[in-house]
Amino acid sequence: MLSIQALGGLGGLGTNPIEYLTHETGIWALRLLCLTLLMTPLRRMTGWSWPMRLRRMLGLFAFFYACLHLSIWIGLDLFFDWALIWDDVLNRPYITLGFTAWLLLLPLAVTSTDAMMRRLKRRWVQLHRLVYPAAILAVLHLWWLTRADYREPMLYGVILAVLLGWRVIQRWPWKAWSGSARRLG
């Protein structure tokens, strides 16, 4: 029998467990992405070194949750109905955005090893700036799928604006003039 009602009830996943799992894994991917983006400012402002050691792990966790999110949608929600999946990716803007965000994170996860970092050198830093558009697309993805109550996407929009805004301010010309410009990760 194809009923997962009992299972859902037992796991506290509510009446629509697949919708619940999809939303939770997506939100956790976004939360972890924001945490990843917090590590560099935290290091700069406090001088602590541990945030930089955590950054890669947090980034990989974010990607892991993004993969879970995508797999639940493909495997559980649409049950590998590729025609339907393709139609959604191309024609539902919020899915196009979410899928693009995942695509942008993919090369970052692949090149996250020390060996790749050494091999790519300067280009590694350039490549990993893709995390910024990925995070922006992730927030837009959440914004666009929201029906009427925008408090949740707005919260993440504000958090991301602060995290990216800090970076813009760090790079502002006056910083260069005052001689305090620093490399940003």
Binding site: T15, N16, L84, D88, A148
Partner: protein, 316 residues
């Protein structure tokens, strides 16, 4: 004039499970599950049923389906009723914030017999029937719900709309002091909905006062709500205080909020995609796999003629 032709969906009275039986089955399952886990049912399922629901007297009605009913627990805890909060479990958690007594229903607009009725007087003339309908939400999930109510056309016949009446407009209670969602500006309150007069007269269209044999829990739109089973769920407006006959197409809440996404008609239609959701498939609550969505939610035989010659892509 209405002639009731039993369709292939009409269940025999013997097919309808009496409410005591399905309630007992539910309780039995819950007890078994709780005993097996050493847990209390309350801890497992959160808030129990509202204590304010009362048993209703009714007979079995037409248009039934032999599909399994969605458990009462799901019907009453997974709701879109933004007046009580925008999360699916908010309405059942905040249910007591909806004050349903006293309740007055106003009928006016282009009709010969307008009136303002205390709820009891409004309901008194109408014998109640159980209607087991599919309910398809625009978000892509669906349920099968045993409603208790009566055909809206009985109210319309009593009100005697004039020739100028072309539409029926409905309004939900406005009570921001009590309803937490009405203090958020997520929609333009109060919630309003509308039907073309012939849609409103259709025997499938009911005013419901109960589900699963008892009065409506607040989160399901107590004490009086519309049920239009061939349209997306948001058309079935909850907690109605005002019914008005109009000449012009009345404004509807979701259409006002995002006109590109929600049309006035909002008939269930697998061929017309919502800009955000493909409407080809749906998940019946409790099922793992999606199922194909049916034209007019499976009621094409009954209501298809209402839209003959209309371009349903334009009038979505």
């Amino acid at each position: 004039m209405l002639i009731r032709v039993p369709s292939r969906y009409t269940p025999r009275p013997s097919e309808i499970t009496p409410p005591e039986v399905y309630r007992d089955r539910r309780r039995f399952l819950q007890m078994g599950l709780a005993a097996g886990l050493g847990l209390s049912v309350g801890a497992l399922h959160g808030p129990a049923r509202s204590s304010t629901t009362r048993p209703l007297a009714f007979t079995a009605g037409p248009f039934g389906t032999d599909e399994p009913l969605t458990p009462r627990q799901d019907v009453t805890t997974y709701n879109n009723f933004y007046e009580l909060g925008t999360g699916k479990s908010d309405p059942s958690r905040n249910a007591e914030r909806l004050v349903t007594e006293p309740w007055t229903v106003t009928v006016d607009g282009h009709c010969l017999n307008p009136g303002r009725y205390p709820l009891e007087d409004f309901l008194k003339p109408h014998a109640l029937e159980e209607r087991i309908y599919r309910m398809r939400c625009v978000e892509g999930w669906s349920m099968v719900i045993p409603w208790v109510g009566f055909e809206l056309n009985r109210i319309i016949e009593q009100a005697e709309p004039t020739r100028r009446a072309k539409y029926v407009a409905f309004t939900t209670i406005l009570d921001p002091a009590n309803l937490p969602g009405q203090r958020l500006r997520v929609l333009d309150w109060p919630y309003v909905e509308g039907l073309r007069l012939d849609e409103a007269m259709h025997p499938l269209t009911i005013l419901a006062v109960g589900l699963y044999g008892e009065t409506l829990p607040n989160q399901n739109g107590a004490p009086l709500r519309l049920v239009v089973p061939w349209k997306y769920g948001f058309k079935s407006i909850k907690s109605i205080v005002h019914i008005r006959f109009t000449e012009q197409e009345p404004p509807t809440s979701w259409n006002k909020a995002t006109p590109r996404e929600y049309g006035f008609y909002s008939n269930v239609n697998p061929d017309v995609a919502h800009p955000r959701w493909s409407q080809r498939t749906e998940r019946r609550i409790g099922d793992l796999r999606r199922r194909p969505t049916l034209m007019f939610n499976g009621y094409a035989e009954e209501v298809g003629h209402l839209y003959a010659g209309m371009d349903l892509r334009k009038f979505f």
